[in-house]
């Protein structure tokens, strides 16, 4: 199996080729670039699966392939010389993620045939090129073996997101959303880049894994008690870790950088599925997982991750409750779900976080594609209040969507339940010792209720009841290219949870924890980047209520209870033939939530109310003060010149007088100096 890794670069290169082909020749191709995209992502999927198999057979791949730039620079830890390279790191985590990404990408490409081509969109080569470039960047990001390479593709992913959100650039809203998405994530990436630079300057390496990784170097520095940039090593690791976290918060749309994601729904739904739900947004969380060893060195950073995650989970979930647009609901649910993952990682639940990442990728891609299907059905209507009654008319869409919804809501035994429950459990046991984690846990727990509520509100409004518009009465037919991906994902949403049935293991001792073993390197891994290694680094105290079993039961019971009550509330309110709007009953709170807690307002104010006037003031200052000084010099000179030339009166007698005066002045000066008058 070893030789298979030689083909690893092709995983990313295939989509890149598809990008070039689509961009250059897309207009001349039968499906405007879809075919190369499908072939390329299919190829990537196949290769990724091979990688997965190779890793499963106990092999890993960590190879530097290309030297980007090398130079001499002495780091703060006295490492001389630095190499910025491109390399590939395929370990269990990366292999898993590669499969997820290429699978979703492949399915989305297929789905696009029905969603974009069949709908007669223009500019399709651009669309497929964007998808290709995105897939390339994302895959390269996933198996990047160092932080710089990760950053670079992280940024490229952002570019693709910009391009695809703004696909319908002739509208006003799409370009605006694209800009916002890029800007907000860019703001986060600013911190990320500072972090990259800081880590490089500190440890002289940016490798994720191996002996010469910055994680190992940081651990050494902490152990040696080195002072770095005027801080003790621990603090410095926290600072740099948090800087990198800035990028994570931006990409994964965590509070306070979450505002771009709902707007990003302006893009085609397929794009939302691929980028803004399943993969790119996952990049942030993936990055935390990728360099978990580093965060594990800093309890402060972990606590912040956990708290932000928990807060975001609740915060976004409440906003999801009041949305009318099906994609908006999904957008807020995405934010919320990534909050869970952050929470999981923050409390040291590495496996739980990755597990949820995987499950979420499947079920959220499913939901988005389902929503896309609904939108096709509804002739591009997205307001749920105009839907209803689609259940009978589109059974495939309905049942797959329902599977996804159940997973999202965390209803046992769908996949979402297992991973979310594991996260909450991990948070719970740590929270019993750490008040701040407990708070984060509590927020995550409350969010479960809202999740259940908004999920089923969405399902009921869309599929149940009576059709509330002409479009809903007579939906547009959908083809196989839409149905097939839904079915694949639907199945995954149902069964993916089986990868790690941690509660089952804890209660019964049955070894249903494949993912944990996988990530712990039982099949093959690189030393130091396994769950086991992380668990040693991150020393969280954890407590139990009674025994471990009771704690598991309490935690699972609590979350299930809340999920069911949320779903039930939705059932009660919306599973009626003619649902009504309950917004008004929420009063002021409703207004605030409806307005997304004024998050957009203050961020827009920051940009347009503060920065823009500030820049205008700077411009005025520049024009008047600085440029005025420049022009002033010239004005003064010309004024002087004007005075000077008035000496020349034109009257020759004056000249004679002036000559004599000048001569006498000269005479006096020299005579005085020479003592002629004494």
């Amino acid at each position: 199996m070893e030789g298979v890794f030689n083909y690893a670069p092709a995983i990313a290169v295939f989509p890149l080729v598809a990008f070039v082909v689509a961009l250059a020749f897309g207009n001349y191709l039968p499906k405007k670039g879809a075919i190369p995209g499908i072939i390329a992502t299919g190829g990537s999927l196949l290769l990724s699966a091979l990688m997965l198999a190779a890793v499963a057979s106990g092999e890993v791949y960590h190879e530097t392939l290309y030297e980007w730039a090398i130079g001499d620079a002495t780091s703060a830890t006295d490492v001389t010389g630095i190499e910025f390279t491109f390399g590939i790191l395929i370990d269990p985590l990366a292999a898993l993620m590669l499969v997820i990404v290429s699978l979703v990408a492949f399915l989305v490409h297929v789905f696009s045939l029905g969603y974009m081509n069949a709908e007669g969109e223009t500019g399709l080569p651009r669309y497929y090129a964007g998808l290709g470039l995105f897939t390339f960047s994302m895959l390269a990001f996933v198996y990047a073996d160092n932080l710089l390479m990760a950053f670079m593709f992280f940024e490229l992913v952002g570019l693709c997101s910009f391009l695809l959100i703004g696909f319908w650039f002739r509208t006003k809203s799409a370009p605006s959303a694209a800009k916002k998405a890029f800007l907000v994530t860019r703001f986060g990436d600013y911190f990320f880049l500072v972090g990259v630079v800081a880590i490089a300057a500190t440890f002289g390496t940016l490798q994720f894994a191996g002996d010469d990784s910055f994680v190992a170097a940081a651990q050494t520095a902490i152990d040696d008690g080195t002072t770095l940039f005027g801080f003790d090593a621990q603090t410095w690791v926290t600072i740099t870790g948090l800087l990198v976290l800035g990028g994570v918060l931006g990409k994964s749309a965590q509070f306070p950088f979450h505002t771009w994601l709902p707007d990003a729904m302006e893009g085609p739904t397929t794009v939302s599925a691929l980028i803004h739900a399943a993969t790119m947004v996952a990049a942030g969380v993936y990055l935390v997982a990728r360099m978990f060893g580093y965060y594990a060195l800093s309890p402060t950073a972990l606590a912040i991750i956990a708290f932000v995650g928990g807060f975001t989970a609740l915060f976004a979930a409440t906003m999801g409750v009041v949305k009318d647009d099906i994609k908006q609901v999904l957008a807020y649910s995405t934010i919320s779900q990534y909050g869970y993952m952050m929470l999981g990682l923050g409390v040291g639940g590495y496996v739980a976080g990755v597990f949820h990442l995987m499950n979420h990728a499947f079920f959220k891609a499913l939901l988005f594609l389902g929503a896309g299907s609904v939108i096709v059905l509804m002739h591009h209507e997205q307001d749920m209040w105009k839907m209803g009654g689609l259940k009978e008319k589109a059974p495939v869409t309905y049942w797959t969507f329902l599977a996804g919804a159940l997973a999202l809501a965390g209803i046992i035994p769908f996949s979402g339940f297992w991973s979310k429950d594991e996260i909450l459990y991990d948070a719970f046991i740590v929270g019993l010792e750490e008040p701040i984690i407990l708070a984060a846990y509590a927020m995550g727990l409350v969010a479960v209720f809202f999740t259940g509520f908004y999920t089923f509100r969405m399902v009921f409004l869309t599929f149940h009841g009576e059709p509330r518009s002409d479009a809903a009465e007579d939906p547009h037919p959908i083809g196989w290219s839409i149905k097939a991906p839904l079915i694949v994902l639907g199945v995954l949403a149902v069964v993916a949870g089986a990868a790690n049935l941690a509660p089952v293991y804890k209660l019964t001792g049955l070894e249903f924890t494949f993912l944990e073993s996988w990530l712990d390197g039982e099949y093959g891994a690189i030393e130091g980047v396994t769950y086991g290694a992380y668990a040693e680094l991150a020393h969280y105290d954890s407590g139990f209520i009674g025994t471990e079993e009771t704690t598991v039961l309490i935690a699972a019971g609590l979350s299930l209870l809340l999920a069911f009550s949320g779903a039930g509330a939705a059932w009660k309110l919306y599973n009626v033939p003619e649902p009504v709007v309950y917004r008004d009953r929420l009063g002021r709170i409703g207004d605030v939530v409806e307005a997304n807690y004024y998050q957009d307002e203050y961020q827009v104010w920051l940009a347009e109310g503060l920065t823009l006037p500030l820049s205008r003031a700077a411009d005025r200052f520049d024009q008047t003060a600085i440029d005025g000084a420049v022009d002033g010099v010239s004005t003064a000179s010309l004024f002087g010149s004007d005075r000077m030339k008035r000496l020349q009166t034109g009257i020759v007698t004056n000249y004679a007088a002036l000559i004599v005066t000048g001569f006498i002045v000269l005479l006096l000066v020299l005579g005085y100096a020479g003592g002629w008058f004494i």
Partner: protein, 101 residues
């Protein structure tokens, strides 16, 4: 009896200043020319007096040159004053002020 050299110098200086005064106050071009002549002659007085004082003839010879050149200068000057009159109908030197500043 010889007159001390200082007196010649004072005389010539006085003459020079008179000429200068004339230049500064007279507006008639001819008067202007005459004043210049006065100044040149002031120089001549000096030259001759010093030639005598130093006992060489250089100064006296140069005085002759100066006179000759003064004559030439006047000739050119008169020509210019003539065309001045033709163009401006006046020999007032303060009248032509078409070019200034």
């Amino acid at each position: 009896m010889t007159v001390a050299i200082e007196y010649y110098v004072l005389l010539s200086m006085a003459l020079f200043c008179i000429g200068l005064f004339g230049i500064l106050t007279r507006r008639n071009a001819l008067m202007f020319l005459m004043s210049v002549e006065l100044m040149l002659n002031a120089a001549n007085i000096n030259l001759i007096a010093f030639a005598f004082y130093h006992g060489n003839l250089t100064g006296q010879v140069f005085g002759l040159f100066v006179m000759a050149l003064a004559a030439a200068e006047v000739a050119v000057g008169l020509g210019i004053i003539l065309v001045l009159y033709r163009n401006f109908r006046d020999v007032d030197v303060t009248v032509p002020t078409t070019m200034r500043w």
